[in-house]
């Protein structure tokens, strides 16, 4: 089998391993949610039994919602209304779940799922490394020259950073977000971006291909994990503050809201949020990742200008790719500012992380595929 095909095979294998890891993280997440529901269950049951008539009446508004979106494990759960939240619990409103699961499956199988996720995650990384190395061998050069190869290396960086971040404690939700993006990116790469392993055109024959593109991809990988962390941060904060847009009627658009109510962040589906670090810690983690990503991105920008000066005699030409890279840089700079601007830290700063990551993705996909410029190297045209 030619080396190039062998590489593709390994990439498929890696995608499969990450899919299993994704599944593992998801199961772990579900188990954590169950476990989070259980400890206070007895107390809650007693409380429910002694509930006042007023409170029962209060709940009567919701059964329709419970039927609408609840998963099987919560089929018999009474979704808590905002008044159900014990102030003492502070963080989360625990569902009054009558989990009919045999004892012993909760934390135990959660740990098992975590173990599977962790090992397939590492396996995926190993397979992907082999796939990328073989790709480089087949092409006879450093494998970061087209979108297919960008995707592979980007996924490798993201999953590696995730593995390092989670090496002692797994935050399953971040695992779900990042492995889901990884699997999507790999499958998209294999199906839409694939090009035969080959040498590159003279404009790309430079060691800057390794430095500039390599660092850009690494930054993207780091930003990906930071994004996952920021999403978790917002969910965690919303639950801690018992704040959900889905909990209150939307006026005339309420028909749209009702089927989604099961997904409100204060509801039982998000009980696992009790197990993740609080929003403050997640924010700090996201910041540290974004800070690393930003430094790498700054380097990307500088290295890109140096390369452009070498190749085209213009260090900056407002080429669409350059503009995209600049926009990403400025948005993340704004994020770093927002963190230290009164009234902007926390949630609002996290929105800038989303904007920044959206710009990263657009710069990689839209600009490569749909905008003509000096950087049209996708190999797809």
């Amino acid at each position: 089998m030619p080396v190039g095909d062998l590489s593709t095979l390994f990439v498929w294998a890696a995608a499969t391993a990450f899919t299993v890891a994704l599944f593992g993280y998801s199961v772990a997440l579900a188990r954590i949610a169950d476990a989070a529901a259980r400890p206070r269950q007895a107390a809650r049951t007693a409380k429910v039994a002694a509930a006042t008539a007023a409170k029962t009446a209060n709940r009567q508004r919701v059964p329709a919602l419970a039927g609408a979106g609840a998963s099987s494990s919560y089929a018999s759960a009474l979704p808590p209304t905002p008044t159900d939240v014990e102030p003492a619990a502070g963080a989360a409103s625990a569902p009054v779940a009558t989990a009919a699961r045999p004892a012993g499956t909760g934390r135990g199988s959660g740990a098992k799922a975590e173990g599977i996720a962790r090992s397939t995650h590492w396996l995926g990384i190993a397979l992907l490394v082999i796939g990328i190395v073989l790709r480089g061998v087949a092409a006879g050069r450093w494998p970061t020259a087209n979108m297919y190869e960008f995707s592979l290396v980007g996924v490798l960086v993201a999953t590696s950073v995730l593995a390092v971040v989670q090496r002692r404690r797994i935050i399953a939700f971040v695992g779900v977000v990042v492995t889901a993006i990884a699997v999507l990116a790999l499958v998209l790469a294999l199906n839409a971006f694939f090009v035969r392993a080959d040498a590159v055109q003279p404009a790309l024959q430079s060691y800057w291909l390794v430095i500039h593109v390599g660092v850009a991809i690494s930054a993207t990988g780091v930003f990906t994990v930071a994004l996952g962390t920021s999403v978790t941060q917002l969910l965690s904060a919303a639950r801690a503050e018992n704040r959900s847009r889905l909990a209150t009627p939307w006026g005339r658009a309420d028909a749209l809201r009702r089927p989604l109510v099961g997904w409100r962040v204060t509801g039982p589906r998000f009980a696992w949020l009790k197990q993740v670090p609080d929003a403050l810690h997640l924010e700090a983690l996201s910041f540290r990742l974004n800070a690393v990503g930003f430094v790498l991105w700054t380097f990307t920008l500088i290295a890109g200008s140096i390369w452009a000066e070498h190749a085209w005699g213009r260090y900056w030409n407002w080429d669409p790719k350059e503009v995209g890279t600049f926009v990403v840089w400025v948005v993340y700079a704004a994020y770093l500012h927002a963190r230290t601007t009164r009234g902007w830290s926390g949630r609002r700063a996290a929105y800038l992380v989303f904007a920044g990551y959206a710009a990263v993705l657009a710069n990689f996909t839209v600009v490569n595929l749909f905008v003509a410029g000096l950087h049209s190297y996708s190999g797809l045209r």
Binding site: Q166, V323, V331, A334, H337, R342
Partner: protein, 556 residues
């Protein structure tokens, strides 16, 4: 110490040093000066900086959605023509030159004014802080993110002095010991001034970058020239096809060298026809020096005395000879045809103005196909960039080429206004197909045309920008400053020891309290305080603070 901090900076670290509690400044009492001061404070506030950064990002986007004059003027004209009034309005609003438009410039200039207005006072303040002692030990430690308290045996002063020595030596803190009276001693310590230095350096380097770019804009020049193999050019304004320079550029300063293109090599992938290598072999002669042979490749420009010569393009130049009706040679030489695609289907124009008296001028317009394959009658395509079977396909025009109107003409286009195209008896345009060596008679008795052969040409960009060194220096300074500012922890630690009035039987006991404060998020703060106390007291001391969750995520 009343420190400066930008309006709206959310940072407990500097807050301790300043009485300013950071609430929005009150609206000024009276007068123009008051308003100006207020406006300045707003402009240099963190919130406005943030707003301008977000605006800058948003304002940069339209430049990728609309064609830009600086990159592709032809596309801009086409767009305006295609979109009528909308196009005209977009043009007026600067959407085809976003990065030079008034609004884009306004945003970044305001941002930089804000930056300077914020950075200068911060620099001054930081300069003073670096010389000052660490801030005094606060009376109460209750609000700090890391705290510890323990009762030990020992004497307060000795204990505090030991702590100070330890912090000053191994952990690079600046320390200050205070005798607070009544047997109570404390030490205040601070480290990581480099963090702020890095931050200031980063912001100042951004200003430097902007200035360097502007400086380069004033003094740079850029020229383009197409050279056929065997020919050369001198580095002077008259030899260039295009020449563009900054306002303060002095043409007398062009390096006086000549460059000859000896040979041009190209290599293509046999299967995909994709380009694999281009090499221009050139001879460079500098005044007073012997000619030297050099090569220029894509990504490997040639440096001649500070002028960079870039290989930007290449193609084929058919060598043709035109004899007019009188049998005189009216034109003879190579004519570069510009490649239009990967297989070098090349387009070009032969202009023959110098015909014998009274005859119409001749223009030949058409394509050169390096490897021609016939697809049908009068239908040819190129199938390979290598010149294995070249064919020249031309239409013939005659009349007035319009060269002496004084308006500079594009050498790759015919101005068809004064010209008529030659047609055959059935009214179809005449096309001439020539292989190398062929001679054909031109229609309407215009004369003859010979395709003598082909030569390679290379397109070079020449450029000199005296600001490049500065740009690189500022960029690297910014990077280093940024990394320092983000990764060097800035911490304050305080340790206080006082004699306990409790139980006297076991000799004197001392109550030790400690606190730590860091700039920004710093997971290392509580562990550091713990390590310091353990080193001084000899046994671990629990530190309350942010739980070390981050230890799991690879902090410092």
């Amino acid at each position: 110490m009343s420190g400066y901090r930008p309006e709206g900076l959310d940072d407990t670290f500097t807050a301790t040093a300043s009485s300013d509690d950071g609430r929005p400044v009150a609206v000024p009492a009276i007068g123009v000066v008051g308003w100006l001061r207020w406006a300045w404070r707003q402009l240099t506030s963190m919130r406005v900086a943030l707003l301008l950064l977000v605006l800058l990002a948003v304002a940069a986007v339209p430049g990728t959605m609309f064609p830009q004059r600086g990159q592709d003027p032809a596309k801009v004209s086409a767009y305006i023509t295609a979109h009528g009034a909308l196009g005209t309005w977009l043009d007026r609003l600067g959407f085809f030159g976003v990065y030079t438009s008034a609004w884009f410039s306004a945003i970044y200039l305001l941002l930089f004014v804000s930056l300077v207005g914020c950075i200068l006072p911060r620099t001054k303040h930081h300069w003073a802080a670096m010389r000052a002692r660490p801030p005094r030990t606060p009376r109460r430690f209750g609000r700090f993110p890391a705290q510890a308290s323990v009762t030990v045996q020992g004497e307060p002063e000795a204990l505090v002095r030991r702590t100070a020595a330890l912090l000053g030596r191994g952990r690079r803190y600046r320390v200050d010991v205070h005798d607070e009276g009544d047997g109570t001693w404390s030490v205040s310590a601070e480290r990581g001034y480099l963090r702020e230095t890095g931050n200031l350096l980063f912001h100042l380097a951004l200003v430097g970058l902007l200035v360097a770019v502007a400086y380069g804009q004033l003094l740079h020049y850029r020229a383009q020239v197409i050279v056929v193999a065997g020919d050369g050019f001198a580095n002077s304004e008259t030899s260039f096809d295009t020449f563009e320079h900054g306002r303060a550029f002095d043409a007398a300063k062009l390096e006086p060298f000549t460059l000859r293109l000896d040979d041009f090599e190209s290599r293509f992938d046999a299967a995909t026809l994709a380009a694999r290598d281009f090499t221009a072999h050139v001879t460079v002669t500098e005044p007073g020096a012997a000619p030297v042979a050099r090569t220029i490749k894509v990504n490997h420009p040639l440096d001649v005395g500070g002028t960079q010569v870039y290989l930007q393009g290449n193609g084929y130049a058919p060598q043709v000879t035109v004899k007019d009706a009188a049998g005189q040679v009216a034109f003879s030489g190579p004519v570069p045809f510009l490649p239009q695609d990967q297989v070098y289907t090349s387009r070009g124009v032969v202009k023959v103005p110098d015909v014998s008296g009274g005859q119409p001028q001749i223009g030949l317009l058409g394509f050169l196909l390096p490897t021609a394959a016939q697809m049908g009658p009068d239908q040819w395509v190129s199938t390979n960039p290598e010149p294995t079977s070249p064919l020249l396909v031309l239409s013939v025009w005659s009349g007035n080429l319009g060269l002496d109107t004084g308006v500079p003409q594009n050498v790759y286009q015919l101005d068809e206004k004064g010209l008529t195209e030659a047609k055959d008896a059935s009214g179809k345009p005449v096309t001439l197909d020539l292989r190398p060596g062929d001679t054909v008679t031109l229609p309407n008795g215009l004369g003859t045309l010979t395709f003598d052969g082909m030569r390679r040409f290379a397109a070079f960009d020449l450029r000199k920008d005296p600001a490049l060194g500065w740009l690189l220096a500022f960029a690297l300074t910014a990077l280093a400053g940024l990394a320092t500012s983000l990764f060097v922890p800035r911490r304050r630690l305080w340790v206080r020891a006082s004699t306990s009035r409790g139980n006297q039987d076991e000799g004197p006991t001392t109550v030790v309290t400690a606190a730590g404060l860091a700039r920004g998020d710093d997971v290392g703060l509580a562990p550091e305080l713990g390590r310091v106390l353990e080193a001084v007291l000899g046994s671990p001391v629990p530190v309350t603070g942010r739980a070390p969750v981050e230890d799991d995520s690879g902090g410092d």
